[in-house]
């Protein structure tokens, strides 16, 4: 159970592509594709929730 991957939900219609979650993710899990964020490396996620905490737009949710 320990190593179970989290679910990262992105609400694309809320995301404004501001880069905050991308830049403050300590593990480079996220990237901007087109105008919105997308997950590029889920395996690296340490479930620190920084992305969810800092997103000004309620656009990213991490469920461990």
């Amino acid at each position: 159970m320990e190593n179970k991957l989290p679910t990262i939900e992105i609400i694309e219609k809320y995301c404004k592509g501001c880069y905050i979650c991308v830049e403050f993710c300590p593990k480079q899990v996220l990237e901007i594709k087109g105008f919105v964020v997308s997950v590029k490396n889920l395996e690296a996620c340490i479930k620190c929730m920084q992305c969810e905490l800092r997103c000004p737009d309620f656009a990213i949710k991490v469920t461990a």
Partner: protein
């Protein structure tokens, strides 16, 4: 575990109007978490604002809300609190709304020590109207109305609040997102007029003019230019040069206005 913001938000209002990277959304999330921590009920809580980008905040929250006239949040909020002292009253707004046109209402709400919580999102500029300088714009900075640099010194909003008589004053930043809810929760729990200044970013009208290349640079600037008040105790004046203190800056117990006013009513009725 993902925090459930949805139960505090009005349905179908998102996405909000704020620009990409605007810190107002980070502050709004902090306020929601603080309300959750304090267990405030929707029907017992009024959220009141003036006008500005920051003042759009109450429109997204599923509480009793009032979006009033520019600078007048404190006046309307005082009316709510006097009529219904049992209600939790929270004011939100920008530095322009609160310290320029609303400066007089602000200082007198502080002086009265009426039990309300005021969250000022200080992005150092009038965002909504296109970047005019505000009383919180630092000397030398550029705004649409100070293209050659601002000649005015800025207000220190937290100090202004303390000087005017607020009995709880704290300062946080949009970078320190995980502290915003804790400061606001403590402010809500304090009996008296509480001011929480959040140093915020406006990438659109302040950042670009003042040579910030990105939202991330603005966020990092908030990190680099602030020091928690506890850490500052162990630092030398040289180390503290150019730094702004964060955390709970002032706390005092004093008679609260609605309680004092209730006594006036009692005295007046006894005198009949």
């Amino acid at each position: 575990m993902a925090f459930d913001y949805d139960k505090y938000l009005r349905p179908n209002k998102l996405p909000h109007i704020w620009c990409p990277g605007c810190g107002h959304g980070i502050v709004m999330k902090g306020l929601i978490r603080a309300i959750d921590t304090c267990g405030l009920k929707k029907e017992d809580t009024a959220i009141v604002s003036g006008i500005g980008c920051a003042s759009r905040l109450p429109g997204y929250l599923d509480f009793c809300t009032l979006h009033t006239a520019h600078g007048r949040a404190a006046a309307f909020a005082t009316g709510v609190k006097m009529a219904r002292p049992e209600m939790n009253v929270i004011l939100v707004g920008g530095d322009g709304d609160g310290t320029a046109i609303g400066g007089n209402h602000f200082i007198h709400a502080c002086r009265r020590n009426i039990n309300m919580t005021y969250i000022i999102m200080n992005n150092k500029i009038y965002g909504m109207t296109g970047g005019q300088f505000s009383p919180a714009t630092p000397t030398g900075d550029k705004a649409s109305t100070t293209v050659y640099g601002n000649p005015d010194p800025a207000f220190d909003i937290a100090k202004l609040a303390i000087g005017a008589g607020a009995t709880f004053v704290a300062r946080g930043t949009a970078f320190h997102a995980n502290q915003i809810d804790k400061l606001i929760a403590e402010a809500i729990q304090h009996k008296g007029f509480s001011v929480v200044e959040i140093l915020d970013d406006c990438p659109t009208t302040y950042g670009r003019r003042n040579k910030f290349k990105s939202v991330i640079e603005m966020m990092n600037h908030l990190k680099e230019t602030t020091v928690p008040v506890k850490a500052a105790e162990k630092m030398s004046p040289e180390q503290l040069k150019g730094k702004v203190l964060t955390g709970v800056l002032y706390k005092e117990e004093k008679p609260e206005y609605t309680e004092e006013y209730a006594k006036v009513i009692q005295r007046a009725q006894a005198a009949k």
